[in-house]
Symmetry: C2
Subunit: 304 residues, 2 copies
């Protein structure tokens, strides 16, 4: 039976990112910690060798999600040592980011409160300092994840000691020596969508990322990084689509492809990290085949 | 509440095509005849000016669907006179094609039996001869719709009198003077998908249709026609995707676009007639953005 039918009342989604994408047993342990909490269900686990990072998607009752979130950070801090961690994706903590999203019968303010509670517990119970971001932020300049994380653990562990403005929201000022700090927040659904290019030149991926992100008059709400994939023969444009209501994965794909073509580079494939909302599926097809009108009522199973 | 929850037991889908796409009141009357039958629900009505044709999608309990089908043919034969009907889409009857598809708790054989029952009633009650096609066919050379319909009403009304092999399965041999004949069958889900091209040259649309259809080593299960749209500045490649399990609308779109580009022609837009299954939505996105792996479990709402 589906989890939404099993559980009455409010449901929250949590998509924590952990700085381990290679050691299967570590990822399984963290996953099992989450899954063992009553009223919580793991929907997806995505591990990436090059990023050396795993993204776990789970849903459940708000209090259970908070419990599972803290349990996951505890397991991650026991098993991951950032001093030995290498990966192409920026990160600040063993449990790097812990975003909460309202799914049913609750709102962003509920999730922001829950996020602050989780952040406080992580410091109190685990001695890991925490930052609040997005809708849970309490400082204006900490709304955007990248403004909190900056260049990550190696830069931030000295910065917090020198610069008062960089201190964690809970605990610190020193970061945890092996687990760094965790960034906890409440946000709208987000799509983590990567496009791999048939090139070994990370400069091209970085150029394309620059060109397509919102900051530089690209797509609204689009964040993008150019990364080198050590395991393959590819470079990657790694994106976050934060305005899933207006930008479809297909539009991002098309734009990356267009920019790549200009530079004589082909797209190899793309990947979705975690899940995406139904509207993005519908919008992608509308954009991809230029439907003059299209919505979910045109899908047999969804209309029945 | 959704119709599948309201109705217990078997559910059948019916997607009749009527030779009227311009007179709103005629289409509304036919739709209302269907909708007035208990345990039946109309999901979609699609009318096309150029085709001068409407496609109504409805679902319900098998006996109710049969009842609504016959009622719709009765209304269509009262309101549509094929001698005065012009449109770019081939047709044999006022109610041209009446396909049945198993949706839940029934199989193709059930739908084939139901189709034969409907076909028999249309002759017995309305004096309109009928043909059986697809899984309901009782003659080997009547499986494919296009082999039954040939060039439509004007050709067939004389052919049935001359050629024994062309006689209807029920009734006839003469076609009904104004309502022609109806073609009733049972089939798998099908996607009616049209791509409009920025060209006034119907020869190009016909060439592309030739190139992409299964018959000529195009896509498996793909049927295609090149049509001229009188109302616009476009020509159309009008397709039926009959193997929705292997060919996505995006692949058809891409192939049409590729063939059009070769001929220096651009795609204007595309349209879905009626509904399509969820798997085709998923497959289109997989094809469109080159996902290395993707299925319905990656969509939040479908996984919850």
């Amino acid at each position: 039976m589906s989890v939404t039918k099993q559980l009455k009342g409010p449901i929250v989604e949590c998509v924590p990112n952990f700085s381990e994408g290679r050691r299967r047993e570590v990822i399984d342990t963290i996953r099992n910690e989450i899954d063992s909490v009553l009223y919580v269900k793991v929907l997806d686990v995505h591990s990436d060798y090059d990023h050396n990072r795993s993204v776990i998607t789970f849903v459940g009752k708000p209090a259970a999600v908070a419990e599972a979130g803290v349990a996951a950070v505890r397991a991650a801090s026991r098993l991951i040592d950032l001093r030995k961690h290498e990966g192409v994706h920026p990160r600040l903590g063993a449990a790097d980011v812990i975003p909460l999203t309202p799914i049913r019968d609750c709102d962003m303010e509920d999730c922001a409160r829950l996020a602050r509670e989780v952040a406080k517990r992580i410091w109190n119970e685990l001695d890991i300092p925490t930052y609040l971001y997005a809708h849970a932020a309490v400082k204006k300049d900490r709304i955007r994840l990248e403004d909190v994380r900056l260049k990550g653990f190696e830069q931030m562990r000295s910065l917090v000691l020198k610069d008062k403005n960089r201190r964690p929201d809970f605990g610190g000022p020193a970061l945890h020596p092996t687990a760094g700090a965790s960034i906890v927040g409440a946000r709208d659904p987000l799509i983590a969508f990567n496009v791999n290019l048939k090139s070994r030149d990370v400069g091209i991926a970085k150029e394309i990322a620059e060109a397509i992100r919102e900051k530089n008059s690209g797509l609204v709400g689009l964040k993008a990084l150019g990364l080198k994939l050590s395991s393959g023969r590819c470079v990657q444009v790694s994106t976050n689509i934060t305005r899933t209501d207006v930008v479809s994965p297909f539009r991002v794909y098309e734009l990356v492809k267009e920019e790549a073509t200009k530079r004589g580079v082909q797209v190899a494939c793309s990947e979705l990290v975690g899940l995406m909302p139904l509207c993005s599926l519908i919008d992608s097809v509308r954009d991809a085949v230029m439907f003059d009108s299209f919505d979910r009522s045109r899908i047999i199973e969804l209309d029945l």
